[in-house]
């Protein structure tokens, strides 16, 4: 295991860690703002308590997201100086905008968290809303930069030098819409179902406080919208990838043979040596249709790419990660359809045991899908750091001893994740102590 391996490991660790907290920090404020709005409009005290409770979660997750994001802004250069040497001038622009958006977010979170008694009530509410809006905007800017790595634009590489740079074209590269859309929706979906799931678990544990029901209803209502939207955005992304990164698409689908009317492989284990994916279930013609909107379209397989001397990514990792992402997304969509059926068809309460259990199981699914999706897009691009321009191995830092960098951050991030989890538990415990006084347990309202 060499330096490159550990540099990769550190980067995946840092991104994999940051992405969770960034998603929550971006979208949780919206849940908080909805609850806050309901309190301001209806004056029901339970929404005030819920807003307060959620705002504590936002504060903790936002801070972890902010500092791990700071670490990433340095790590891009620390780990990949060969990449940043070129990329800085080309794709730095969205980062400069991200800086502004993030700044706005930091100011507003200060105003919201500490402004309860100091600000006019609607100004205060508005500052909370801006935390969310600026968060999503800054997320979009960062994903623009990632989209550029997948579909480089706005420069020409001549003799190892980037010339004719156009930062605007680089930022609004061909993949920016599909990627930012997919990621932003994923952030909402994952956070909303994560929050709904936690409150469902608490309800199942006989903490029958009204606050949990209100919380779950708000979170689920948001989650349902985004889980269904994600299907549309996912389809759009797949078509986009098919057009720009056919090798990634073939790896995602475990498609080795070039064929017309290609079937969609569900599950299965790709084997590059044998050139096929075993044990999968095939749905005839589905891949051609999903990728190109035509049942008889030709899908180019990995075997042909290998024959043409194209480097290909680790197929098994990409394929399996893709299956996990789609699987989780489908379960969340199912939960959403059930929500609609229960609420609008049967006009029933959501808090029956079976549905609560299902939502509880869904708690981590959105985040698993987010992580798996990042594996698909990042591993699927390998061995390139800038697709078809620069390889990861050419951009790694010459400094030896990356192992220690990895170990240090692995320890710290593990501890932070555990402490964050533990702090949430303590917050919930305290919340229950307070709720018990207001509304003794067991009284289903």
């Amino acid at each position: 295991m060499d330096n490159l391996f550990f540099a990769r490991a550190t980067m995946s660790l840092s991104l994999g860690f940051h992405i969770i907290f960034a998603c929550i920090g971006m979208t949780m404020p919206f849940l908080m703002v909805i609850s806050h709005y309901l309190w301001l409009k209806r004056g029901e005290d339970v929404y005030y308590r819920l807003t307060k409770a959620w705002s504590k979660g936002v504060a903790i997750f936002f801070a972890i997201g902010a500092v791990s994001g700071t670490a990433l802004s340095f790590e891009l250069g620390l780990l990949w100086p060969g990449f940043m040497k070129h990329a800085g001038a080309i794709i730095g622009m969205p980062f400069s905008w991200e800086g502004t958006a993030f700044f706005v977010e930091s100011v507003c979170i200060g105003l919201f968290l500490y402004g309860w008694k100091r600000l006019n009530k609607w100004m205060h509410w508005f500052s909370g809303l801006i935390v969310g809006v600026a968060g999503v905007v800054s997320g979009i800017f960062v994903v623009c930069a990632n989209a550029w790595m997948n579909s480089p634009a706005g420069f020409e590489m001549v003799n190892g030098q980037a010339i004719n740079i156009d930062p605007l074209k680089a930022m609004f590269n061909p993949a920016w819409i599909s990627q930012t859309l997919h990621m932003s929706i994923a952030a909402f979906e994952a956070t909303a179902f994560g929050v709904a799931g936690i409150h469902a678990i608490l309800l199942l544990k006989k903490n029958n406080y009204d606050i949990h029901k209100k919380a779950m209803t708000i979170a689920l209502s948001v989650g349902v919208v985004f889980a269904l939207l994600q299907f549309v955005s996912g389809d759009y992304s797949a078509k986009d990838v098919a057009k720009r990164q056919p090798i990634k698409l073939a790896a995602m689908e475990g498609q080795f043979k070039t064929e017309k009317g290609a079937g969609l492989t569900i599950g299965g284990l790709p084997n590059v040596k044998e050139g096929k994916t075993k044990f999968g279930i095939k749905i005839p013609y589905a891949l051609s249709f999903l990728a190109y909107g035509d049942f008889n379209a030709e899908v180019k397989g990995l075997n042909d790419f290998i024959k043409e001397n194209n480097p290909i990514p680790p197929v098994a990792v990409v394929h399996i990660a893709f299956q996990i992402m789609v699987g989780c997304g489908s379960l969340l969509a199912l939960a959403s359809l059930l929500f609609i059926v229960i609420r609008f068809k049967f006009k029933k309460e959501l808090f029956n045991k079976k549905y609560l259990k299902f939502i509880a199981v869904c708690t981590p699914l959105g985040f698993i899908a987010v992580e798996a999706g990042w594996v698909v897009t990042e591993v699927g691009r390998q061995p390139w750091i800038i697709y078809n321009v620069l390889k990861v191995s050419e951009s790694v830092s010459p400094v030896q001893g990356q192992l220690f960098h990895f170990l240090a951050f692995a320890c710290i991030y593990l501890i932070l994740a555990c402490v964050a989890f533990w702090l949430m538990q303590r917050q919930i415990k305290m919340l229950h102590v307070k709720e018990e006084k207001i509304n003794p347990s067991g009284s289903w309202k």
Binding site: A59, I60, A63, I64, A66, V67, T70, A71, S73, F74, E75, G77, L78, P81, M84, K85, H86, A87, G88, A89, I90, G92, M93, F95, S96, W97, E98, G99, T100, F103, V104, S106, V107, C108, I109, G110, L111, L113, Y114, G115, R118, L119, I165, P167, L168, S397, P398, V399, Q400, A408, F409, I412, L416, V419, L423, R426, Q427, K429, M430, L431
Partner: protein, 333 residues
């Protein structure tokens, strides 16, 4: 275009030192607070920096973004040659921020706070000191593009008697800023007196460590002292800063909150400008390779133009908001 960008880079570094630096200084004050008034000190510090520290921290991000967007060569070179101290810095930044938030948002006040407090204070000190090590390494001509071994290439340039004394200087600077700002945040006369004493001790330490920086440059045999002495503007700035000390002392003794802040700010700006003027436009100095300057490492013009747009529009949004934040939380200081 490039001068506008350099201006913004300087502004963000100066504001980061003035505000973000003081937040680290607050942690250092906690570290050295006696057991008797520790709880009180922690309370004052919490109230003072909780609403603003994330915004203050942003100036570092802005500086880094400007650096990698407009001066990618400087950014990547520093990343390679000062890899180790930057990692230490990041670990410190991560731990400082999280421990501060954790202690604020732990629903229970039990023994876990001992851990948060220790981590917060120690990581604040580590970050301040490491900043000094990094700046010291950039100012001394110790970096080598063709290192004979790992120690020569990646350790010695930032870990020697000179950089250590710069580390001590930066630590004293941050602590000085924090102790002066906190005078205006104190809730009762007793606390106020305690912070006045702290501010005085910090200012003496600052002058002493400043002297040590020059002496250590001679001992270390680098040309920092020479560069400094060959520039009359830098000397004038340092002398001005030193001559203003008695006035600052007087104002600190009187416990005038905002006035003391302004004076401390002026001291810090003068010192930073002295360093800047002495080395401008050089940022990274090598002993065996051409130095990297703000001009020979700049990105193409088109990148700079877009960055200037972003910075100008960004400031129109950020500065009014920051003003509002300060008005809401600091008006009663």
């Amino acid at each position: 275009m490039i001068s506008i960008i350099i201006f913004f880079l300087l502004v963000s570094i100066i504001i980061y030192v003035l505000l973000g630096g003081a937040d680290f200084g607050a942690g250092i004050i906690e570290l050295f607070a006696g057991p008797k008034n520790k709880q009180q000190t922690i309370k004052v510090i919490n109230d003072a920096i909780a609403p603003v520290w994330e915004a203050n921290h942003m100036w570092l991000i802005i500086a880094v973004v400007i650096l990698f967007n407009a001066f990618p060569k400087i950014y990547t070179t520093v990343s390679v040659y000062l890899y180790i101290p930057l990692i230490i810095l990041l670990l410190g930044i991560v731990l400082r921020g999280t421990s501060f938030v954790f202690r604020h948002y732990d629903a229970y006040k039990d023994s876990s706070h001992k851990i948060y407090n220790i981590v917060f204070a120690v990581s604040s000190l580590t970050v301040s000191f490491t900043f000094g090590l990094i700046i010291g390494a950039l100012m001394s001509n110790k970096l080598t593009a063709y290192p004979a071994n790992f120690y020569d290439g990646y350790i010695h340039p930032w870990l020697n008697i000179f950089t250590i004394s710069v580390g001590a200087f930066v630590t004293a600077l941050f602590t000085f800023a924090a102790s002066v700002y906190l005078i205006g945040e104190a809730l009762n006369p007793e606390d106020k007196k305690a912070f006045i004493t702290k501010a005085k001790i910090a200012s003496i330490t600052l002058v002493c460590t400043g002297g040590v920086v020059f002496i250590s440059s001679v001992i270390d045999g680098n040309d920092f002292m020479l560069v400094f002495l060959s520039n009359w503007k830098s000397q004038a700035l340092i002398i001005a800063s030193t001559l203003a000390i008695p006035f600052t002392w007087k104002i600190i003794s009187l416990g005038m909150g905002w006035m003391a802040r302004a004076f401390a700010g002026v001291h810090i700006v003068l010192v930073l400008s002295a360093f800047y003027v002495a080395f401008f436009p050089v940022v990274v100095r090598f002993k065996d390779m051409e130095s990297l300057t703000l001009f020979n490492s700049a990105a193409p013009e088109i990148t700079l133009i877009y960055l200037v747009y972003a910075l100008l529009i960004g400031s129109c949004i950020i500065f009014p908001m920051l003003g509002y934040l300060m008005k809401v939380f600091k008006h009663n200081a």
